[in-house]
Homo-oligomer: 355 residues x 2
């Protein structure tokens, strides 16, 4: 079954720049409505990141880069050659919009460094070129991760994924979903299972939506059914993304990932993390040092504007958890595959050149 | 903290008989609305079990017992002394309403055996007395399990539970939630964490509602957050119910339970199943022989009348999973505690007398 290669369209892009504005596909409204929002100001971009108009570690990094372009333009218009201080404040605000994904800080630092060397007259154009380059590099990295990750998958097999790591979560194509797209295209993947991924339902709303558009067979499950699915023997791999990978290989990702890693190890199912090297933070020694966002309990008790729990009930809403390196079989980056992640193997991939 | 005992009200009852009719609290509408439905006919009772007006293994057993009373009354009214055949068909229909919980078949068999020995004139009254006795015995069993289970919990500690196993799922008081009620009443439990329990959200809708009414501190979590909660050290026990326990101690329970058992073992958190002996099925040798219900995928993709997934996406909706005996630390029944569940220890508790 599925031995023949399949064409992969991958036509979805959630971040675009046109007519001097940043356009974001509002991911809170998918799949019911396809709504594009337009941004001319940096503070509105920071708010969009905070409110999850855009989400996914690589995607919020790229969004912040375009936000920095808007910040520079505004600050130069308002203050001319004295644009630097306001611009620095804007970048701080962007970097602080969400705490866990290191790509956000990484992107902001890259734009900050680029801006430092520029004359006022060239800032806007140069930063825009930098943001575009970052966007293009991300798609290229995703394609490369797709090839490397798919190369590890013996088919035909079933894969379970969590949250959304596709075109919507990145510059395009996807990290874990890029691996899945590529593996399906090569005919070595027969069925994708997608955790619905409470509380935001990114699996049900976004991953299913992406896969349907690429005609890749997808079956949704409730997050609690994952271990039982593994028990049935229908999945040979769990493939997920990451929001920050510490220097020792511990990986923060959407809440529920740690659950999957434990169940995968118990069942002998292989566990792959696909993430670009921009997600690796050498300054974070281990998972215990990763700042983990917690959001309001109402995101658990309410859904689609309606409350399902009795009024006033408390809920704990951690957005991310940390999977220890010891539970991860491979980390796939655009620079190569890290097997048995550790401080040493992570360092090695960071020091290698992109192929 | 919580060293002093707390009064437990336990005022909720979801199954009642009045003025010759069975009354069921419609659990699909909780916690938004408290709606009682009235039943005069057995086929409507079978439909209510199938449609989950009432759920929870002990509760559907008791409901079926009252349904048998209605069946006998109707059949005698229609056919006089020839009531037996129609009655037998009605009981078959009741027993087939849902496949997994063995309490349903157990209750129907008990009423069938009782009816076999009766003269037509005494059937209705005698079956009603049998159903009431079964209802009372269930509450007594729950109280006893509460004492036995709470006796194992060293406090103050945190407990994680799954689905709803309380007054709503039983004749009253609850199995796992009965243990939790008792432990809290004795001051050895400081915090309950409740999985929201997708797809039906029995944890968010029902367990939270019950615990709020008893003023027991409860915090909801998404099912995917359970392993991460265990990692924080905030829970020392997972306490769950069961829908059928096989002769070797394997236990079928709400989907997600198996996930919890694996994560609990990984973290050294203790795992307790609380269920009356009517949930143990000596005729089912092991978990592989338990019939496991699967329901429509729409229960996953839709919530509160609204679809969250793209149209036409498939979903896999297993209602139950099986936790192997080896992952269960203790099974608490009204006849005693089974440590290290196995064919031998399960047989021993079945052969012992209620204290």
């Amino acid at each position: 079954m599925n031995a023949a290669p399949h064409p992969i369209l991958d036509s979805i892009r959630a971040i675009a720049w046109s007519e001097g504005s940043l356009k974001l596909l509002d991911q809170r409204k998918l799949p019911d409505e396809v709504v594009w929002l337009s941004f001319d100001r940096c503070d509105a971009v920071a708010e969009a990141i905070r409110d999850m108009v855009v989400r996914g570690a690589p995607a919020i990094g790229i969004t912040a880069a375009y936000g920095a372009v808007l910040a520079a333009r505004d600050r130069i218009r308002a203050s001319g050659k004295d644009w630097h201080r306001g611009f620095a404040d804007d970048l701080d605000q962007l970097a602080a919009a969400r705490p866990t994904a290191v790509n956000l800080g990484w992107a902001v630092a890259r734009l900050r460094a680029r801006a430092a060397k520029l004359a006022t007259s060239e800032v806007e154009e140069a930063l825009f070129a930098e943001a575009q380059a970052m966007h293009d590099e991300d798609i290229t990295a995703n394609r490369r991760m797709g090839e490397l990750g798919a190369g590890l998958i013996q088919g035909p097999c079933g894969v379970l994924t969590h949250c959304n790591t596709g075109s919507l979560a990145t510059g395009g194509f996807g990290t874990a979903l890029g691996v899945i797209r590529t593996a399906y295209g090569q005919g070595c993947l027969s069925q994708v299972y997608a955790d619905e991924t409470r509380p935001w339902l990114q699996g049900a709303r976004l991953t299913a939506w992406e896969l349907v558009q690429d005609s890749i067979p997808v079956t949704l499950i409730c997050d609690g059914a994952a271990a039982w699915l593994m028990r049935t023997g229908k999945v040979q791999w769990v493939v997920v993304g990451a929001d920050r990978i510490a220097a020792n290989g511990d990986a923060a990702n959407k809440i529920g990932t740690y659950n999957l890693a434990i169940a995968a190890r118990y069942h002998g199912v292989r566990f792959m993390v696909a993430a670009p090297t921009s997600t690796i933070d050498p300054a974070t020694p281990d998972g215990g040092s990763i700042p983990l966002e917690e959001r309001a309990g109402e995101e658990v008790t309410r859904l689609g504007g309606r409350s399902f729990a009795p009024e006033g009930v408390q809920a704990w809403n951690p957005v991310f958890d940390v999977t220890p390196a010891g539970l991860i079989d491979v980390i796939v980056t655009e620079r190569g595959v890290v097997t048995a992640p550790s401080h040493k193997t992570i360092q090695a991939v960071l020091q290698s050149q992109s192929p």
